[in-house]
Symmetry: C2
């Protein structure tokens, strides 16, 4: 997979979480996914079309997303409710939009659908992409999340 398509989304995740929620995140080592599944408690999925067709998923542990949304909204959330889901959707729109803006500066134009949020303890995410799937773990003060990007034709 062309790393040019991935790095802007990673930079966007770090930038948006820092500027919008005041959350510092440390990226781990990206890895090509051998198995197809990520496991999380809250995930955001957004479809991508344009010069490449694919999907991006943000896969959070519950502790991690409650921490991020509490910081984002300035209010302590202790369970995943509609307000948390909506906030995850907004964050996803911002991260995807920022990543696409960075790519557009390189002349690569992508369109994005609207985010879909999945909540449920220990659900699995499988990308049906012909190409490789790249996953990048991020660490926060309160647990980790994963950014996964999969393209069919990159």
């Amino acid at each position: 997979m062309d790393v040019k398509l991935i790095n802007p989304f990673l930079a966007a995740a770090m930038h948006v979480l820092k500027t919008m929620a005041g959350v510092e995140v440390s990226p781990g080592k990206p890895f090509l996914k051998k198995d197809s599944q990520a496991t999380g408690d809250v995930s955001a999925i957004i479809g991508i079309t344009g010069v490449a067709s694919g999907s991006m998923a943000l896969v959070f542990t519950e502790s991690c997303i409650l921490y991020i949304v509490s910081k984002l909204l300035g209010e302590a959330f202790t369970e995943v409710n509609d307000e948390v889901n909506d906030a995850v959707g907004e964050l996803t729109n911002m991260i995807c939009g920022d990543g696409r803006r960075r790519l557009a500066e390189e002349g690569l134009v992508l369109q994005a659908g609207i985010p879909t949020i999945v909540s449920g303890k220990n659900h699995h995410i499988t990308h049906i992409a012909k190409g490789p799937r790249l996953a990048i773990p991020f660490q926060t003060e309160q647990g980790e999340f994963m950014v996964e990007v999969a393209f069919a034709n990159a």
Copy 2:
């Protein structure tokens, strides 16, 4: 929401399941979703861009998807495994592709991302769309599934 954007996906779901898997499905009454969540055991999510930006989700109970995939592949599946997830992805691509083909005949051109499959008992799906979300329940011999379509600007 413009019903012109929805009906082709419903026709596509019925057509693909009948011709590919030999599964007859009966559509129930479509309804505008008041709450944002659907609950299922296996879901397929695909992002849509073009004349409208949105997402389509197919939300299955476990018994329903095991029945459909067993019929599709001619082999009895008793648990949701990688093969079932892949088959759901292929079905989703076919349904989305068939729906888009029908829409293109009306002059409405949509692009689709690649499907993402979610598995996990009783997970919830939330569409982050500004516009209304339409849900259509379908009944099969072995339980029901839901087709949900949400557009941001339809």
